[in-house]
């Protein structure tokens, strides 16, 4: 029955990690828009009708078995505090002093069409149901609290004081009651019809009708029609939404689109970085090899040159030696002849000496 988030995101197509899993996401990542499940349900909160009676808070606590607050729900003094949904309450009503006097706003999960909490949960604990509800499965939650970081409406809360089995706490749009065909608890008890339950598409029409019927009264804007890609829970008001504590700077980009770019890069890095790095390694190795070869060449050349030079020198030396030898022989011969001659003359001289 419940559509898993993976499947949901497959249709959603805003996130491209599908490229890694190679399933149907691959074609869906080509930039298809997800306009919400057909006939999904939602609630329209008309701030002009809310009187801050806190009946919705009361009903919510009863239905969801949340702990009773210290002050009873009849006590409206607490409206002066700036509260937010926390671990003990799925919904709170706050009072705001606005340009048109006191206004009240009910805060709860807005049940985004493309929920930030679901897109960031690394164990897929959150699912967007076809009914419109964003539900949470505590049986897989690791408690990283990234959903709380991601939620632009600051809705999920955490049971910090539970040491062993803490869970994320947030409005379920009364998903179990919706299955039984019942209204969400808060809608059912609202005495002023400030909350209108129905198909989201119909709610937008109703909101437009109210605005166009009384254009001087209402602000011409349905908060949640487009914010963060659209939410199942929407608001109309007669004062700028900022004055009732709502962020008007969130933009219309669905949350998963914010991270899809970064996720698209991942498979590319996984595929190409090893190629690049192996290439770098190969280049380093090659350079080393070339260096080694060049070194070997240089050494060989040097050795050869040295050898040639030595051979030349040897040859030269030998030639010199030969010449020298020959010269020496000639000299020796000459000297020998000279000596012989001298000896011969010597033997002759005494005669002449005697003669003289």
């Amino acid at each position: 029955m419940a559509i898993t988030r993976r499947k949901f995101l497959g249709w959603l197509g805003a996130v491209g990690v599908g490229t890694t899993s190679g399933k149907k996401n691959a074609h869906a990542s080509a930039g298809k828009e997800f306009a919400g499940y057909p006939d999904s349900l939602g609630v329209l909160h008309d701030e002009t009708r809310c009187v801050g009676c806190r009946s919705c808070e009361d009903a919510c606590h009863r239905i969801n078995n949340l702990p009773e607050p210290e002050k009873p729900f009849k006590d409206t003094s607490i409206l002066n505090d700036k509260r937010r949904p926390d671990e003990d309450s799925y919904t709170v009503v706050n009072k705001y002093e606005t340009s048109k006097g006191v206004r009240f706003r009910k805060i709860q999960c807005n049940h985004c069409l493309e929920p930030a909490c679901a897109s960031v949960c690394f164990v897929t604990a959150f699912s967007k149901q076809p009914s419109g509800a964003v539900t949470y499965d505590p049986s897989v939650c690791v408690g990283c609290r990234y959903c709380m970081i991601a939620c632009p409406f600051e809705v999920p809360a955490y049971q910090y004081n539970d040491a062993f089995t803490p869970e994320v706490v947030k409005c379920t749009m009364c998903a179990p009651r919706l299955e039984k065909g019942e209204l969400p608890g808060c809608v059912e008890v609202c005495p002023k019809e400030a909350l209108t339950f129905g198909k989201r598409n119909d709610l937008i029409k109703i909101a437009r009708q109210r605005i166009s019927k009384d254009p001087d009264h209402y602000v011409d804007h349905i908060y949640g029609e487009k914010e963060m890609g659209g939410t199942s829970w929407m608001y109309v008001s007669d004062v700028p939404f900022e004055e009732t504590g709502m962020r008007e700077d969130l933009g219309n980009t669905p949350a998963p689109k914010l991270t899809s770019g970064a996720l698209h890069v991942v498979p590319m890095v996984v595929a190409l970085w090893p190629v690049f790095l192996t290439g770098m390694y190969g280049m380093t190795k090659r350079r080393e090899k070339i260096a080694a070869v060049e070194k070997a060449h240089a050494v060989a050349k040097a050795v050869q040159e040295a050898e040639t030079k030595a051979a030349d020198q040897l040859l030269h030396a030998m030639e010199t030696a030969k010449i020298q030898q020959e010269n020496a022989l000639i000299i020796a011969q000459a000297e020998k002849e000279k000596a012989v001659k001298a000896a011969l003359t010597k033997t002759d001289t005494p005669k002449s000496e005697e003669d003289s």
Binding site: V120, A262, V265, L277
Partner: protein, 401 residues
């Protein structure tokens, strides 16, 4: 020669420790460990609410902002050094690889332990049960988790030759060493992914992170600055180790030290320069110039000029003049810069539109447990380097890399 050195230093280290156990360092570290253990009991019996100042608007505090974000960035020395040495052919840095890998491994292990403190259901993190069965592939945290887990394994394998040499397991050691190149490539791929994805985690919250820090380039910022963190940590750490573990250092390590510091300073100066430019481009891309005049803008300028531009200049001068003092202070400045940046993104400017009264300030117990983590890391680091061949070549395996 080096054989004798190695053996001698190893014995000296062990003896020093036996002789003086109650050094000031040991006493302080012991005190921190005892307090940390008590707080650990408190955390796991009373819950996060008792120990931390976390709230529904500030679900990520010091343990994510510092232990995870800064821990992972500062442990980047492992992949930068091993990539430089094995892939880019800077073999002169070989002696720095082991200390860097060891720091990386211990850093990531500490990150994992910190996460067990931080998540609400640590049992489910250890079992990896829903993580494997229900893969949230659209979550950047899924990618971070997967990469960190795999990288821890890679670092363990890269680190394994050290204890294997220590234990004398020759065959296993040979296999581990043969994996070096493959592991290095894996390490760089995984680091690229998770370092950048830590930044990309915040892409989902443009309404909460201050525009000067929120940028479509944030993933690139985180990746590039992790290189700076890695280089600076190697410089900083080697100077600390020089004081503390000089007797455990072999000749090759000591001889390679100065060229390493100068080489790393040059690299860090270059990367810091690039980082400085892309940070300015980030402001330009969002056209956030007018925001620079606001208090957060001035804080941004402090980060970018004081802890990016200034260390860049100091690294450059330090390299040119071969001045280790300049380089060391530049390294410290850039490390502070990285810590500042991670805290700015995840804690300080997070929820910047909320009044200061709603700001998260960590409880003393959170701070203490973060200090406890760092202390444990240092103690394990010391245990290993005084016993195993980290700063020196094991005598039986010299010239065997």
């Amino acid at each position: 020669m080096s054989e004798q050195d190695g053996v001698a230093t190893q014995e000296n280290g062990a003896m020093d420790e036996k002789n003086v156990f109650f050094t000031p360092f040991n006493v302080i570290a012991g005190g921190i460990v005892i307090v940390g253990l008590l707080l650990t009991i408190l955390r796991f019996t009373k819950g996060l609410g008792t120990v931390t100042n976390l709230s529904n608007t500030q679900p990520w505090g010091l343990w994510i902002g510092f232990d995870l974000m800064c821990g992972v960035a500062l442990a980047a020395g492992g992949y930068t050094t091993s990539a430089a040495c094995y892939l880019f052919g800077m073999k002169q840095y070989h002696s720095a690889v082991r200390p860097a890998i060891l720091t990386g491994f211990l850093g990531y292990a500490t990150v994992l332990v910190s996460l067990l403190y931080d998540v609400g259901r640590p049992d489910r993190l250890i079992m990896a049960y829903p993580f494997i069965v229900q893969q949230g592939t659209t979550s950047l945290l899924f990618e971070v988790g997967l990469c960190v887990m795999l990288y821890l394994l890679v670092l363990f394998l890269e680190f394994s030759p050290i204890p294997l040499e220590w234990l004398g397991l020759r065959k296993a050691r040979t296999i581990a060493v043969k994996l070096t190149i493959m592991l290095t490539i894996f390490g760089v791929v995984l680091s690229t992914l998770h370092q950048s994805s830590l930044g990309a985690l915040f892409l989902i919250a443009p309404s909460k992170v201050h525009p000067l820090w929120y940028s479509p380039y944030i993933a690139v910022f985180f990746f590039v600055s992790s290189i700076i963190a890695g280089l600076s940590m190697v410089i900083f750490e080697s100077s600390l180790s020089h004081r503390a573990f000089h007797s455990n250092m072999g000749k090759p390590y000591l001889e390679a030290h100065d060229p390493l510091v100068f080489g790393y300073a040059k690299a860090a100066a270059l990367v810091l320069f690039g980082y400085f430019i892309i940070k300015l481009m980030g402001v330009a891309a969002g056209n956030h110039w007018t925001l620079l005049g606001t208090p957060y803008g001035i804080w941004f300028l402090v980060e970018v000029f004081g802890f990016v531009a200034l260390p860049c200049l100091l690294f450059t001068i330090g390299f040119r003049d071969k001045n280790p003092g300049f380089i060391k202070s530049a390294a410290i400045l850039s490390i502070i810069g990285i810590v500042l940046n991670r805290l700015n993104v995840s804690i300080i400017t997070f929820n910047w539109q909320k009044p200061l009264s709603e700001k998260y300030i960590p409880s003393w117990m959170e701070v203490m447990l973060s200090i406890f983590m760092v202390t444990c890391l240092v103690l394990v680091f010391r245990f290993i380097v005084t016993r195993m061949p980290v700063f020196y070549d094991h005598p039986d395996f010299t010239n065997n890399h």
